[in-house]
Symmetry: C2
Subunit: 314 residues, 2 copies
Amino acid sequence: MISMNHGSGGVLTGKLINDVFFKHFDNEILLKAEDSAVLDCNSKQFAMTTDSFVIDPIFFKGGDIGKLAVCGTVNDLTCVGALPKYLNCGFIIGEGFSIETLEKIVISMAKTAKEANVKIVAGDTKVVENHGLFINTSGYGEIISPLSISNSKIGDKIIVTGFLGEHQAAIMSARMGISNNISSDVAPLHSLSSCLDGIHSMRDITRGGLVTVLNEICEKSHCGAKIYEDSLPISQETKGFCDILGLEPIYMANEGKMLIIGDVNIDKICQLPYCKNAAIIGEITAPSQLLLQTHIGGTRILDPLYSEALPRIC
Amino acid sequence: MISMNHGSGGVLTGKLINDVFFKHFDNEILLKAEDSAVLDCNSKQFAMTTDSFVIDPIFFKGGDIGKLAVCGTVNDLTCVGALPKYLNCGFIIGEGFSIETLEKIVISMAKTAKEANVKIVAGDTKVVENHGLFINTSGYGEIISPLSISNSKIGDKIIVTGFLGEHQAAIMSARMGISNNISSDVAPLHSLSSCLDGIHSMRDITRGGLVTVLNEICEKSHCGAKIYEDSLPISQETKGFCDILGLEPIYMANEGKMLIIGDVNIDKICQLPYCKNAAIIGEITAPSQLLLQTHIGGTRILDPLYSEALPRIC
């Protein structure tokens, strides 16, 4: 039976994907399990991806479901080294949903699409009985320099493009009615596609957080990784929030942060929009488990997220 | 406030699309309102489209939500003169949904994708609290001969590729617990892309039925149309079902029938899979309302569907 944990982006999601989807939709493009499929068109390569957004609440500090839907797909295209070009949107709307609210979300999508320099070229609308709103966005981008989660090499630097955990901390704050200054970091990261030199692998840090995403890259690239607790960029506010609740930002979702693996000029990354707090947090090693060197000098094994951290976070 | 009528595919859906989506996602590709967006890649053209499927029940005589999701997107690509190539799938699954049932649907999708010669290359899985299953499919195809709903010309023949109303009649029968032999006609119509000679416009007959789809083509092509009641292909079973309930097959959804406008060899169409009952049903005329010449020789104006014929039919 499907549980909320199957939607966590963690181990159970991976099991469902392997046991049901990959088993029957068996083809080598899909089985690469990249954030976007990379395909050929007239001897040039392009990328396609899809994502559904079921976040609750649909408005939150820093964004809304519409901004999230555009950024999520733009970032998934960016991950494989593509310049995002076109988006499709599918709306599933609950009967009784306010048309004014829908328009607000559509305006937010249009604004974000403009910032990300993508055109929304096709759409679909369905209405269902239960209240609420789900948005699917699928996208097309042109490959500039093909990246893959299988391409990381021993000795590569591990970089995150800014503060960890902010999206999840903002959504949790909204759900729990906690008043603080933590905003979701949801943002389009397409500008990274102008700066792909030396990058081997890239993945946006969403469900499952840094640890889950980095474990996936290590598995696909047949390598290990070591990261340093003291190097992790975490804002004071998020740290305080997590300390009180016993949460770990390295397992929490962002929606505007990229994990970058390669031989990269960090100063150049820091100059890109939404990347000013980018930091080198570790390096790729020979095959082993993912290790964290802690503040006090110890070493901890970081397993991927197993169960649901927070349902309906994107 | 959103009502079920906004999802009917009729006048209210059109109003929502114009007033909210087209208003803000304003670009010339989207505003063409074709079944798929037609785009450029290296001086060749390709097509992109998206569709969400929320049908209830998810299994029905002749198919299931998975088969429907693949066929819907394959047919939308075929409509613009494209050969369907790649699909993405987004699953939104209710907590508590059976994994065995999910796998059945995935197997049905894989089988239909194989028949339609498309690869499922990217996917996404989300879990939400309410039971049920929604599937979004988006697709990519390569344009063979560009068709447009704006291209119909006075004198063109109007063709439908088989019996009208079968999908809707099957879903209504399932919902009402009526036992009969009516099966949904859900089918992939990609083979039409090998037979585009002389075709000016093509659209699959889904929500809103033949009348709504033909009205849309007439509006976009700045012309009128006349169809003949005696020429309409309707099976005896569907006719009987509709007579009892006071329904009209010309307003009812199919999921495996195409409306074709142009100067076309009907015998060639009839030889294609799922098209053996294709028929010429009328012709494109100078601008006027859509007219039906009835069996007894009278003339009736056919307005597009206004309100919801049947919620969650696709």
